[in-house]
């Protein structure tokens, strides 16, 4: 994992804002801050949900391990240590999340920032309703475990969805689950959410339990989404607005290529 070095010339701020939402965002982004562990999911469960390989199967490779192939004489390759997956020549695979606008603990932009600060060798893709992160397969499984087990995920309002992600901006279902056309996760009678399909919608041999949905109070206290109904409104965080307006003004002015007099 990445860590901010002690001897850096400046202290990273991670983001502006004085509100609780801004504070939650900074907390997720800061790699020195340990994310709260909310649930236990086994490695096999993660492999099942991802659906890229059968549990226990060897990792298919895209190229021979780095140790077995001739590396070109490149100064960058000498500086950067390859990740475990890159070293072994794993394929690049993905995990994708959809986060409900009803106070999910994270959201696409936030996820991308968080992952970039915390993980190495990743390629995140940010969209309005979903966020995908691609990396080498064994790194992916390690990172996915962290993304699923910690406070970045709520079993009801976060969906692990490789395809057919629609649902983040819709009303919740009666039982509090986010709408999913393929109903990959089901809330059981015992209040535990189980994945019955993998992220692309293929039925699993066994259901994967990922715990109970978090309560409304916890979600509102830990959300990273500004929401004028029921949570902090964006306009109430003056510092955030000031920062965004400053960036907007500067980049607009830069479009005219101003020259210093």
């Amino acid at each position: 994992m990445n860590e901010v070095k002690e001897n850096m010339a400046y202290k990273p701020q991670y983001g502006p804002g004085t509100s609780k939402v801004a504070e939650n965002r900074r907390k997720q982004m800061n790699p020195n801050q340990k994310l709260e562990k909310m649930r236990d999911v086994t490695d096999e469960d993660i492999v099942l949900i991802l659906g890229h390989r059968a549990p226990g199967a060897a990792y298919p490779t895209a190229h021979p391990p780095l140790a077995e192939q001739q590396e070109p004489d490149c100064p960058i390759r000498k500086i950067v240590t390859p990740t475990e997956g890159a070293k072994a020549g794993d394929r690049v695979r993905y995990i994708q999340f959809a986060d409900s606008m009803f106070f999910a603990p994270s959201q696409p932009y936030q996820r991308t920032y968080t992952e970039c600060y915390r993980f190495r060798g990743i390629d995140p893709g940010t969209l309005s309703g979903r966020q995908i992160v691609e990396c080498r397969e064994r790194d992916l499984e390690k990172y996915s475990k962290e993304l699923v087990e910690t406070e970045l995920l709520d079993p009801a309002r976060t969906g692990i969805r490789g395809a057919t992600v629609h649902g983040h901006s819709l009303r919740l279902a009666e039982n509090g689950m986010m709408f999913d056309m393929l109903q990959r996760s089901v809330l059981g009678e015992d209040g535990i959410v189980r994945y019955v399909k993998n992220q692309i919608g293929e039925p699993l041999d066994r259901a994967v339990a990922i715990g109970k949905p978090l309560d409304e109070k916890w979600l509102k206290a830990h959300t990273t989404i500004f929401h004028s109904l029921g949570s902090t409104a964006y306009r109430d965080d003056a510092e955030y607005i000031e920062y965004v307006q400053r960036i907007h003004t500067l980049r607009t002015k830069y479009g005219f290529l101003p020259k210093e007099a």
Binding site: T164, L170, R171, L172, N175, I200, G201
Partner: protein, 158 residues
Amino acid sequence: MTEAIYPQVRIVSTRFLRPDTVEQLLNRLVQVGGILRMSLTGQNLPVTVPYGPARGKPNLHPDRKVIRVGDQDVQLQVQVGNVILELEDESYIPAVEEAVDEVFASKDFSCTVQRGRFMKTQPTVSDYAKYGPDADKEILGLVDPRKKEGPIIIQGNK
């Protein structure tokens, strides 16, 4: 197409409804009577996975169920979010509101009844281009008129 003289209401809940709640609500509405047409709207629940790597595989969705309304079986094809009703006259609206309040009294979320015009009154040029001149005007604007299954007719109590 709807006649402009008939009043319409839309029942909107703050959550998507479970099939058993829909069944309960519709049966209560049927008791009220005076309903000419009814349309259930919401997110589509397809029979097979429509796209992605699992395209074409069966999509077993627990909310795609057959419910019993009045004397008819109704296959739900959507996760019901709104119910649109066309009524005989305005005198039925208070009874519809009462029925909705009754059904949602035990729920921890609210449901409102809105008055307005929610069904199409006139075919558009796009409708003409898509469905041709002979499209069934009774259901145009509510569902795809090319669908093989017609509307479900629930016998009234008159």
